[in-house]
Amino acid sequence: MTSAAASGSATAALPTRFCGIELAHPIVNGSGTFDAIAAQRAFGPALVEQFPFAAFVSKTVTLAPREGNPPPRLWELPAGLINSIGLPNKGLAGYLTHDLPELAALPVPLIVNVMGFTRDEVAELVSAFAERDEVAALELNVSCPNVETGLIMGADPAETALLVERVRPLTDKPLIVKLTPNATDPGAVAVAAEAAGADALSLINTIRGMALDPRTHEPWLGGTTGGVSGATVRAVALAQVYDVAGRVSIPLVAMGGVQRGRDADDLLRAGATLVAVGTESFRDPLAGARVADELTRIRRPDARPGARARG
């Protein structure tokens, strides 16, 4: 066991460049798995002083506000979690007014994750953030249906290409397309996104899963099905990252079940540039810093004297 808190010293030991953004290390958060504003309510300014990630990715923003799915929203698995959160958020206007100023004050670059149910909606979101200097990059969450075509945008290479082509001219900021693992061939979607002008790709989002209430035998989750994350998806994430890395040349943000430095190391070796920590932050709010610290020891064993002998 490593000590609970990451020491600041190690986290600067793996400087990383991603789409022109300089980061102290390659560990960021998965969208929707860390709320930096809520965390400041719980932890106060100490959270900012010990901020665990090299960049902050905010929860998916949609055009209109969303309440999210009815509870229960969580089901624990042997080494993971199913969630049916349903993307609750204040909507674009609410985000710009309430969240953006607070998130812009974080000590790390801000990546805003957006999702729309039509290409026009996504375009409106991208345009809105294009002019905001506080935003370092945009991530497109394409794990949702296009209500016009009925297709899951990110499961279909052609849909993804049309979407990226539509929004690419609207901003100079790096565009990260977040792939869904619930697709026949995420590699083909990746290739299409790259060709259409994406600057980077992130993967994996959660895998569709479900549980029954042990008493009623009805679906447990308010949203009926949900998304599986955590250690239990790690092997699937690694396979998809390895495959996509072999088919595109833009950088990848890899995630799925990262708990320790060596999980991050595996994803980097499979071809990723950044690694995101998601579910593990629920178990340990400073997991991002711990993973960065463990990774530094794996990658640069001599970076700190005595680091190997347990820091």
């Binding site: 066991m1 609970a4 709320d35 809520a38 932890f43 624990e76 042997p78 969630n83 609750p88 178990r283």
Partner: protein, 284 residues
């Protein structure tokens, strides 16, 4: 990490801020009270929790660890009692997480993240001549113990009414002072529901403020009872939590103004914010 001696409170004194790292503390003692176990652990430098706040707990060993089985996520527990440098929790074994915690022995390691959430309001303005009625059901008595300590220290008038399934569980009543008891099976105290005791108390004198914690049907009965008589009530709710600090949006409960994250805006909610205290997926 050092939690620092100077604790900062926010949310009108109802929240003590937590250090952002989980800390590994040492179990000092485990004591059995009938069906319940009380874990006492050393928490040197840990900030003093407000009554009603909770912590996310996980054992340091055999809790999923790197590649774990269930329990995988930490579990939420109300602070039962806090002394400088020490925390106490009350557990009932209802599943893999509580079972594992209930196995801990003195000297074992425990991960603690907390104190979290917003506790009970005991502002003088709130009490304002009213006596405090503490209504607990089962393991829900936990946050009432630390609340009673605080109210007694400030010389407020307090009455504790506690309900249990049976005599084995009623042993938990020893954790509060001078508690009046109801049991479902009549094996101790009043044979019936704790809300019978509450009704009688309110019939006697409505000048009261109710602080309640327990299973959803009990909380809902308390809510309805107090609403009907315009008695102010604060309810400590439960819901399934993954993180405890607002990160996952998993713990929401419906209120009159929409879903709120119970770990962030609760677990104590003013009763009049709720349409019902029967929240889906909570309690056992």
């Amino acid at each position: 990490m050092s939690a620092g001696a100077l604790a900062v409170t926010t949310d009108d004194g109802r929240r003590t801020l937590a250090p952002p790292g989980r800390r590994r503390v040492t179990v000092l003692a485990r004591q059995q009270f009938g069906a319940y176990a009380v874990l006492r652990c050393a928490d040197p430098g840990g900030p003093p929790p407000r009554p009603g706040q909770f912590a996310m707990l996980a054992t340091a060993e055999r809790w999923g660890g790197g590649d774990g089985e269930r329990p995988f996520l930490p579990r939420a527990f109300s602070v039962l009692r806090a002394r400088p440098g020490e925390l106490e929790f009350l557990l009932e074994d209802v599943g893999p997480g509580t079972a594992r915690l209930a196995e801990l022995e003195p000297g074992d390691g425990l991960w603690v993240l907390g104190p979290l959430g917003i506790g009970f309001s005991v502002a003088a303005s709130e009490l304002a001549g009213r006596r405090a009625l503490l209504v607990g059901g089962g393991v829900g008595i936990a946050p009432l113990a630390i609340l009673q300590d605080e109210l007694v220290a400030s010389d407020a008038a307090v009455t504790a009414l506690l309900g249990f399934r049976d005599g084995l569980h009623a042993a938990g009543a020893a954790l509060l002072r001078d508690a009046r008891i109801a049991t479902d099976d009549g094996s101790a105290g009043h044979a019936g529901l704790v809300t019978d005791l509450l009704t009688a108390e309110l019939d006697r004198d409505q000048a009261a403020i109710v602080y309640a914690c327990g299973p959803p049907p009990m909380l809902e009965a308390v809510r309805a009872l107090c609403a009907g008589r315009a008695v102010p009530a604060q309810l400590a709710l439960e819901s399934g939590m993954a993180c405890g600090f607002g990160a996952c949006f998993g713990c929401v409960v419906p209120t009159r103004s929409g879903y709120v994250r119970l770990c962030l805006d609760g677990p104590v909610l003013d009763a009049d914010r709720l349409e019902t205290a029967l929240t889906p997926g909570a309690g056992h």
